[in-house]
Symmetry: D3
Subunit: 63 residues, 6 copies
């Protein structure tokens, strides 16, 4: 039943497969719950929709 | 002011209308706050972006 | 695998039992996935930690 | 390290730039952490995916 | 109906009052929706429950 | 800037230290962003506040 959300950049299908596998395995071993109990939600977010230090990532990239 | 988020698969407009109506009604009766106070946010997530038990849903579907 | 989050006021154990049962049943019927696939997360939030219209709920209550 | 999420309607690039700048500045001054520590995530949500008072926003608009 | 979540450190009541007021005002002006439509949820998180760069904030503080 | 949220059971300080370290390392390698850019938020949730299949975890445990 643990729910892990990863909010980050666009990823390829291969990266998503690997990400879900690795994070579930690591969390399962540490939290001591079976891998089957874990849900991972991937949220891909455009650089226009993330601000760091008051500036959009998409504006930082153009500088 | 309660905020209910439903993170799940793609839904039709009819399913969304029904989902918001039913969940708001049920929650309003149990929490004892007027329906008008409830906000429901629907998050439709691609099967590429959900992992269960360390495997992407989109990979499970192809097996 | 749908994950439903309810962010609202403090609830009794009985309210939580009822809320999880009703919302899961309603969502399962509409989304057409088995009840067993649904996870509900309840987030109880203090009135000091919610603002509506620019004012904390805890300040509205004292007026 | 504070993470601020804004879940609302579609915004222009100019609105996003301004939103991230203003909210980060306000929060930084009040929380007393440097602006550089703040992350803002913008979630644009379709009116089909928001319910208020048991009704989808997209249905309210057509009335 | 926009929902703004602020996930950060422990705050005083005065800081929360000010935070909700300032952020709602700023967001209302930019998004062009009335202040009354905005909900702000404050999530206070212990330094044991935040990791930056792979290290808990509570461990960084002791160094 | 990726933000990873882990919503699960109560954890010891040692588990949290290890969880943040492992997940950040795994995600950093796959997403190809420096570990320093990752934030991990741990949300410990009581068994009274999680429902699976329409039943609270705290009720499942007593059976």
């Amino acid at each position: 039943m643990p729910v892990i959300t990863v909010d980050g950049p666009k990823l390829s299908k291969e990266q998503k497969t690997e990400l879900v596998k690795s994070i579930t395995k690591a969390a399962s071993e540490i939290i001591k719950l079976p891998e089957q109990a874990f849900i991972v939600l991937i949220q891909e977010r455009e650089m226009d929709n993330v601000g760091v230090g008051g500036v959009l990532l998409s504006d930082k990239k153009t500088s």
